[in-house]
């Protein structure tokens, strides 16, 4: 799922400097799961903002809402009445949710309250790690289910660089070398021969983010 981290409070306070009444909107999906923007975090951030502004002598009224999924137009529409009452919206949903609100409320400034960080997996409770870069052309079938695009610091396709040492990456010693993981996994599956194949230069431009806005259209689903 999408992982995010709350922005520093001082940065948020800066965005909201010229507003006295805001809506703080969370999201009940991904950011709730990664504890960055669910109802609990909305309450905490709202309380912190109110106190910080009170201390600065410029009280802030912060309304709170947490729609089920901010990235759906219907859920965004549910906020309409509340948004009318405020001068600005601070969204602690991911970057997608922020943009959904921005699209829906053309007259109200919408600010991000979190940094959307990556698509990740829960390693243990409270620890998340990047697993996917949504590159648009999945090669996991060749790499034993471990993604070198997301997990190798150099995005290598043909095996580890010379800096792979004792299973760790030379960039971050606490991080596993993705290619060591791939090697171990393929070794366990008895499919090491897969690492002998050369993966040719990748066609980034056709499927990836570098080809501009990506769009999925399912004609059969359109209404």
């Amino acid at each position: 799922m999408i992982k995010a981290e709350q922005k520093p409070l001082e940065e948020i306070l800066l965005y909201l400097k010229s507003y006295d009444r805001i809506l703080l909107s969370g999201c009940g999906a991904c950011v709730t799961v990664c504890q960055a923007g669910g109802e609990k975090e909305v309450g905490l951030l709202a309380s912190a903002l109110r106190m910080a502004r009170m201390k600065m002598g410029t009280p802030l009224e912060a309304l709170e809402a947490t729609p089920a999924r901010q990235c759906e137009p219907e859920f965004a529409a549910e906020l309409s009445e509340t948004v009318e009452k405020v001068e600005a919206v601070l969204s602690v949903a991911c970057g997608v949710g922020v943009q959904t609100l921005a699209r829906h409320f053309p007259k109200t400034p919408v600010f991000p309250g979190v940094n959307t960080t990556f698509l990740g997996e829960t390693v243990t409770h409270g620890v998340w790690e990047e697993r996917c870069q949504a590159c648009g052309n999945c090669i996991l079938e060749r790499t034993g289910g471990v993604c070198p695009v997301a997990r190798c610091a150099k995005q290598l396709f043909n095996g580890p660089c010379g800096g792979s040492s004792k299973g760790k990456c030379e960039i971050k010693r606490e991080a596993d070398c993705a290619w060591q993981l791939i090697y171990d996994r393929l070794n366990g599956l008895g499919q090491l021969y897969r690492m002998e194949e050369i993966i040719p230069a990748r066609r980034w431009g056709v499927e990836s983010r570098d080809s501009g806005l990506r769009r999925i259209v399912r004609e059969d689903l359109k209404v």
Partner: protein
């Protein structure tokens, strides 16, 4: 401020803090004038938001009276309280409030004197810090 009597919200775990408060009363150890006890089944019940809300709604300081570490009836309630407190401390710092305003005190049922002492110390400390400038 001469007549400032700090308002303290004291969360008391029912397994340790609350009986300790009873004991302190029984020993006629005086409490500071403006303490509000909140009885909770376990320190793990104390949400991070309560710590902030207490300050937001007018308290000058917050105390958590929880069981000693490794002695929680519910195994990890006191540790959760401690972790939540550290998160609240980070927020207080960002808000610009002294983190001394929220504190955890680990004790057992028979620690009445420790509880009373902690309350007095906190009250004196808060007197020095002055009223909570962020209360609404």
């Amino acid at each position: 401020m001469v007549n400032f009597e700090p308002k303290i919200v004291a969360f008391c775990c029912d397994q340790s803090g609350y009986p300790a408060a009873d004991m302190a009363g029984g020993l006629e150890l005086n409490f500071p004038g403006n303490v509000e006890f909140v009885r909770v089944p376990c320190a793990g019940r104390i949400e991070t938001l309560y710590l902030l809300k207490a300050l937001e709604r007018g308290a000058d300081g917050v105390l958590i009276f929880a069981c000693y570490e490794e002695n929680c009836q519910f195994l990890r309630g006191n540790l959760r309280a401690k972790s939540r407190l550290s998160y609240a401390h980070r927020l207080l710092e960002k808000i610009g409030l002294e983190k001394e305003r929220i504190e955890i005190c680990h004790l057992a049922t028979n620690c009445g004197p420790k509880l009373a002492e902690t309350l007095h110390r906190k009250s004196e400390q808060l007197k020095k810090l002055g009223p909570n400038p962020a209360k609404i």
